[in-house]
Amino acid sequence: MKIAAIGLAVVFALIGVYYIATPPHHVKHFVLFEILAALSLVWLRFQAGKPTTPSLR
């Protein structure tokens, strides 16, 4: 699952960069995908934390 979290973070970050780097330079798309990349890193952080996570019902 750690690989999945890292993979998602990289993919989202690259998609965000693509949107800002290519015309018409979508700022909203860029910000959204960078936030999704950050959330993927939070998921990674949770996997590394103490195993006291309540069930994700």
Binding site: V27, K28, H29, V31, L32, I35, L36, L39, V42, R45, F46, A48, G49, K50, P51, T52, T53, P54, L56, R57
Partner: protein, 280 residues
């Protein structure tokens, strides 16, 4: 746009953004009813709308400031620890994250095509009537169910469902707060908790969407309405603050049906006026 028109639009936006009556629907229909010649695609008008939304978002942040401080602290603590606890503020914070992601995705990818396609007065009137039936239906289903749940006890998937329901507001005439409050009610939340989740959920979406458009306020040609935008933004914020204060007290013991009746009557009148070509 005259100052009077700008101030009426500011009040309309501030009030209707949080009341479950569709702000977008009203900003399409009211100028048509008053026969205002406003080009909604004009960049200066769009700058003005950005300022109104920013004012509304800031009012929401100020109203729920103590909640936001607790929620952000709990989220930061959760990330620092690297796990989830049973803290209600932390739970609400992650529910807000889970609920915001789908509506952000829907908004970013579908907002422009949906609004361009469904922007006519007739369609907006029809969606306003649909909005009324969403609220009537939600209330009817809520009365049939028995149990009540507190906001921090709802499941992650249910939090995302409320976010997706909020996406229905992309259709002009469907209310963001109405659809998300109904979704909350269907999950078993009380009116009070459903409204609180709806308003908290709306804050990051409205704030981020308007903050990212702030540079548009300073674009060439926008200076002419900068004063109107600034005063309009403050006025919209004051109206939004008063609205959320009223609604929080209102939902303590009341339901969505009066707003449903309002949307039904206003939507039907506007539809009749549109079909008879009285309004464009």
């Amino acid at each position: 746009m005259t100052w009077l028109q700008a101030m009426i639009l500011a009040v309309l936006q501030g009030v209707s953004e949080l009341f479950p009556i569709s702000s977008l629907g009203h900003t399409v229909l009211v100028p048509s009813l008053l026969r205002w010649k406003i080009d909604r695609s004009d960049p200066t008008f769009l700058s003005f709308v950005v300022a109104l939304h920013l004012g509304t978002a800031i009012a929401l942040i100020i109203f729920y400031r103590t909640d936001w401080v607790r929620i952000v602290r709990a989220l930061v603590a959760s990330i620092a620890r690297g796990n989830l606890s049973s803290d209600p503020d932390e739970r609400v914070g992650w529910l807000l994250v889970v609920g915001t992601v789908p509506v952000a995705l829907l908004g970013v990818f579908l907002e422009k095509p949906v609004r361009a396609f469904f922007g006519s007065s007739a369609l907006v009137s029809i969606f306003l009537i649909v909005n009324a039936f969403i609220m009537f239906g939600g209330e009817a289903l809520r009365r049939r169910s028995t149990g009540e749940r507190a906001l921090p006890t709802i499941a992650w998937l249910d939090g995302a469902k409320v976010g997706i329901a909020q996406g229905a507001a992309l259709f002009p005439g469907i209310s963001r707060s109405g659809s998300s409050i109904v979704a909350g009610l269907l999950l078993g939340l009380t009116h009070e908790d459903a409204a609180r989740y709806s308003f908290l959920l709306a804050t990051p979406v409205i704030f981020a969407a308007s903050a990212l458009e702030v540079p548009q306020l300073f674009a060439p040609g926008s200076q002419a309405i900068l004063a109107q935008a600034a005063v309009g933004g403050v006025l919209a914020g004051i109206c939004a603050y008063a609205s959320v204060a009223f609604l929080v007290r209102y939902f303590h013991g009341n339901d969505l049906r009066p707003f449903g009746w309002y949307c039904l009557i206003f939507g039907a009148v506007c539809l009749a006026l549109t079909l008879t070509k009285v309004i464009a």
